[in-house]
């Protein structure tokens, strides 16, 4: 069934998504979905196609084939309406360093059409412990503080689909735990779903309801991160991940 015809209950529906660069197949006919109140981990070794997949979901990269629907809205046909329901945070996309935290949140709040923007910004400054940095330029913040600003920006429009590309990569363990709790709370309190990429398998086990293991642009495995390792004869998710990564280089079969 085409992605845009699927039930609106799914916050993200990806159908037969493919991206080819010349002879290179970066993403090869993958299909998956994210349900409301669900955190799905998108895992895989470097170069597996995770960021390419996220770029296609965000509409900044055109798929060679396949469809993306956000809350039932086809991204290719109604990009604006689909992206109004989504937001993202990625380590490789910091907010402009020459604007203050408040200025960045205000500009992005307008871009996402956030209602009662000033009070929403104030709320987020509190939630992400950013009040003291309100008038500090983002470029002057530590990488962990910048990540928190980026997460605050990602929450501005209370997205139904939140894409997080290694959101805790530059956070200290305590802050990373707080962020995980915040995102878990967001997911359980609202109707939103999250697609989460991370190389921290302990974090994935703790946070994700379901994981997709991507390798060479295809989904090799899918399931509960706590049950999946045992199912494939591995001690834990990290061991399973390593096996997938080695399979990729032809060292060992899973």
């Amino acid at each position: 069934m085409p992605a845009h015809n699927r039930t609106v209950r799914e916050v993200l529906a990806v159908e037969h998504l493919t991206k080819r660069y010349g002879e290179t197949l970066a993403v090869d006919d993958i299909s998956f979905h994210v349900a409301p109140n669900e955190i799905v981990g998108l895992l895989g070794p470097n170069g597996a196609g995770k960021t390419t997949t996220i770029s296609m979901i965000l509409g900044v990269l055109e798929p060679t084939k396949g469809q993306v629907a956000i809350t039932g809205i086809d991204l290719a046909q109604n990009r604006k309406a689909a992206l109004e329901k989504a937001n993202f945070s990625a380590v490789y996309a910091p907010l402009p360093g020459n604007l203050t935290v408040f200025e960045n949140l205000r500009v992005f709040g307008l871009l996402y059409g956030v209602q009662n923007l000033l009070s929403r910004i104030d709320e987020l400054l509190g939630e992400f412990d950013l009040r003291r940095f309100r008038d500090t330029k983002c470029g002057l913040l530590s990488s962990g503080e910048q990540t928190r600003v980026s997460l605050a920006k990602a929450m501005l429009n209370k997205p139904q689909l939140l894409l997080l590309d290694e959101p805790t990569a530059s956070l200290d363990p305590a802050t990373a735990r707080d962020v995980r709790v915040q995102i878990r709370r967001l997911v359980s309190s609202g109707k939103g779903g999250v697609l989460w990429t991370s190389h921290n398998m302990y974090e994935v086990e703790e946070v994700c309801d379901r994981v997709l293991l991507l390798s060479r642009g295809t989904i090799l495995l899918e399931g509960d991160p706590r049950a999946l390792p045992a199912k494939h004869g591995k001690q834990n998710l990290e061991e399973l991940f390593v096996a997938v990564a080695r399979e990729r280089s032809g060292v060992e079969a899973i």
Binding site: V60, A93, L99, L111
Partner: protein, 267 residues
């Protein structure tokens, strides 16, 4: 009606300018220097030529209008380059903002910044060298309009070049006004040019403005037909530039350039 997304682009530009002398000063500093330089040049030419000749409205006025076109173009490109410099494409274009919202934001930013330059130039030229913009009469309206529209078209086209070729291509766009200045006859009549350059000039809207300016100063009255044609031409160039930007953007999304812009080429 300006969308909140277009307003976001303008607000971003305002925030950047508010705290940065390096951004505010170029809005008027270089054009002010130009006015001083060409003002004294006009005065000198007045002193060595026949008494009835006055170079202030023809030469200084032309420099002022030419600089205005440059300010309009750079108003668009600088607002765009802010996103290149801060590597902000991914954040902006993964939002619900459309290409039309974005380009409208660049144009609105340019209207605000270029008029600051225009006001400073007019004040300086009139206070120090006695140039009255009213001496051009009603023709001043199409003069400003045509140069503004063509400046917008050049700005959008220039941003397309940088979007297509990558950050290093910004060096291609700074000299663009200088590249077309010999053709549009800022300082001399079109008839001075060889035939092939005259034909090229007829395709460029500013040529009609500067030819009209000289005709007005010489008492022949503005070249209204030429000015009307130049408005149409300028609008056509805006449409072509917008189509070019949209196509380049689509290509950038297809090849992944938007997501990995610093790589300069992805295809």
């Amino acid at each position: 009606m300006v969308s909140s997304r277009t307003a976001a682009i303008v607000l971003r530009q305002f925030y950047l300018m508010r705290g940065s002398a390096a951004r505010v000063l170029p809005l008027f500093a270089w054009v002010a220097i130009d006015i001083i330089l060409w003002g004294f040049m006009s005065r000198y030419l007045n002193s060595i030529s026949a008494p009835r000749l006055n170079f202030v409205p023809s030469l200084l006025g032309a420099v002022l209008l030419w600089d205005f076109l440059g300010r309009v173009m750079f108003g668009v490109t600088t607002a765009f380059l802010e996103d290149v410099w801060s590597r902000n494409f991914l954040n902006f274009f993964a939002s619900p903002m459309t290409v039309a919202d974005y380009v409208a934001g660049l144009v609105l930013s340019s209207i605000l910044t270029s008029f600051i330059g225009l006001v400073v130039m007019v004040l300086l030229a009139s206070a120090i060298f006695g140039l009255s913009m009213f001496s051009y009469g009603l023709a001043l309206v199409p003069f400003i309009l045509v140069l503004f529209l063509f400046g917008i078209a050049m700005g959008i086209f220039a941003t397309s070049i940088v979007l297509r070729l990558g950050p290093a291509a910004e060096w291609f766009i700074w000299p663009l006004p200088a590249l077309i200045s010999p053709f549009v006859s800022v300082f001399y009549p079109l008839s001075t040019l060889p035939q092939w350059m005259q034909w090229t000039a007829r395709l460029l809207p500013p040529s009609y403005v500067f030819e009209s300016l000289r005709a007005t100063v010489n008492g022949q009255g503005p070249w209204w037909t030429g000015l009307a044609l130049s408005v149409v031409l300028a609008l056509l160039y805006i449409a072509l530039a917008a189509i070019t930007f949209a196509r380049v953007f689509r290509l950038a999304v297809r090849t992944g350039l938007i997501a990995r812009y610093s790589a300069e080429t992805v295809s």
